[in-house]
Amino acid sequence: MTFTDVHTGYGYEDLPRLMSLMTGDEKHGPAATSTLDVVWVLYDRVLRVSAAAGDAPERDRFLLSKGHGPMAYYAVLAAKGYIPESLLAGFGAYDSPLGHHPDRVLVPGVEISSGSLGHGLPLAVGSALGLRAQGLSGAAVWVLIGDAELDEGSNHEAIAYAGAVGLERLHAVVVDNASASHGRPGGIAAHFEAAGWSTATVDGRDHQTLYEAYTAPHPGRPHVVVARVEAKV
């Protein structure tokens, strides 16, 4: 599905208003916006993607694994011209393509259908392998996961494998709002590092710091950015 009534002249300052079309709230708490800056900086400055060339084989891939609370993601997709602003008010409605978990079959620009936790990172590993096998080695694969999502064992199968084989075009961003009940002794980055990943832990609200962490070189290794935001309460 493609839309003809999209608009691309939006900036970061438009995102709260776009989100409010879905939430009905003027202001949004940290939980609703935990991924907002992380996703915006990726789409605005890092990912080589565009709505106009949505299916280009050599495009970068962004996989939203943590599919719940996708308002910030949809707002960014609207701001970047993938979906029209007029769709946002229908969020969750029967005849809307915008569910409370995104569906790639329904929404242009959405690379995976998510909602069940722990699927994005393995799919990202497969995507990175698939692009490499086709000689599309310039394309980067990014996957966003939540800190509590790391509880799911499937992630650890993917982290261990990607680190062991040095899957360089794989990138993960872990949005850490300290929502895991049992935490992670030693920290999230240490876990990835032990598996052979390149890591950076940064302030998930600071755009320049995020950008630098996203674009740090990591030859021969997959890269994870742990983006810390306000703790979920």
Binding site: P122, G126, L129, G130, L131, S154, A158
Partner: protein, 300 residues
């Protein structure tokens, strides 16, 4: 004669040479068969280690980039253990792949229940759009594997077995084959059950249909066979997996005709015996002697 699994490795290794879209994904099991292919195609023969959730996720990810993934391990670890991945990383993504299992229901009886997956086909029945092939001979496995690989972006399950019929049949993917004709009922033998069924029904006046593709179910063949009978139609299914898996499919095929269906296969209860395939089949009531008794009693 090679085994179905050996044929799988040799055929798919050749297909990898010809089709750059293909990739094989393994979780340790079966990797020896792909040693040479892995050397020739290091980016398209992928062993993720003993990680079956990742096995399926990687397959889904490959498909999302336009590849045709072929995944292989034992049925217990390909379908049962990572079932949510099968559901979400293929179907829900709108992606497809070829899943090729081994060990099935009873291939390694001495290995016990942990290595048996009689419920695999029934589980796939809860999902939309899966083609399921159950070859009964290595030659048929080759035909069905080639068909599965060439089936666009369809999701296809190929259930290989160490249990095999003595000779291949001239099968057509998707179609049942009429092996013999009779008037007292229809016996549908699935894959490796054919030889046992033919021995069991010797001298009985029944039709035997041979099924090597069970999903979609060849309703037309069942209806055409039933059309020749007078009055009520009696159908016996003999499946090498969970008993009754295809009973509903037969019912659907004959919805507008009076009929009875007997679904024979692996029972739910654990046998908790080891031994050989033949001993196991006898223990499950699926050897020719038991089959003859059960089929005769039903058709009487």
């Amino acid at each position: 004669m090679d085994t179905m699994r050996e044929r799988f490795a040799s055929v798919v290794s050749r297909l990898l040479d010809d089709d750059p879209r293909l990739a094989v994904v393994l979780a340790e099991i079966g990797k020896d068969g792909f040693t040479d292919a892995a050397r020739t195609h290091p980016d398209r023969v992928i062993n993720v280690g003993i990680r079956e959730q990742l096995l399926i996720g990687v397959g889904g990810g490959l498909a999302l980039t336009g590849m045709r993934p072929i995944l292989h391990t034992f049925a217990s670890f390909l379908i049962e253990r990572p079932f949510e991945q099968v559901k979400l990383d293929f179907g829900h993504q709108g992606a497809g792949g070829v899943l090729v299992s081994a060990a099935g229901s009873y291939d390694w009886p001495a290995g016990g229940y942990t290595h048996m997956a009689p419920g695999d086909v029934a589980l796939l029945d809860t999902l939309d759009g899966w083609t399921v092939h159950v070859p009964g001979h290595p030659d048929e496995a080759e035909t069905l594997l080639r068909d599965a690989v060439a089936a666009g972006d369809d999701s296809v399950y190929v259930r290989l077995s160490a249990h095999s019929n003595s000779a291949p049949r001239d099968i057509v993917p998707g179609r049942f084959l009429t092996v013999r004709e009779g008037r007292r009922g229809v016996v549908i033998a699935v894959g490796p059950m054919l030889d046992g069924v033919l021995t069991a029904v010797e001298g009985l006046d029944v039709t035997v249909l041979y099924a090597t593709t069970v999903r979609p179910f060849d309703e037309r063949a069942v209806r055409a066979t039933a059309g020749a009978a007078v009055g009520r139609v009696d159908v016996v299914l003999v499946e090498p997996y969970l008993a009754g898996t295809s009973t509903a499919a037969v019912n659907d095929a004959l919805a507008d005709r009076p009929h009875r269906v007997l679904g024979l296969g692996i029972p739910r209860r654990e046998l908790r015996r080891y031994g050989t395939i033949d001993e196991h089949l006898a223990g499950q009531g699926l050897d020719p002697v038991a089959l003859r008794k059960r089929i005769s009693a039903f058709l009487r």
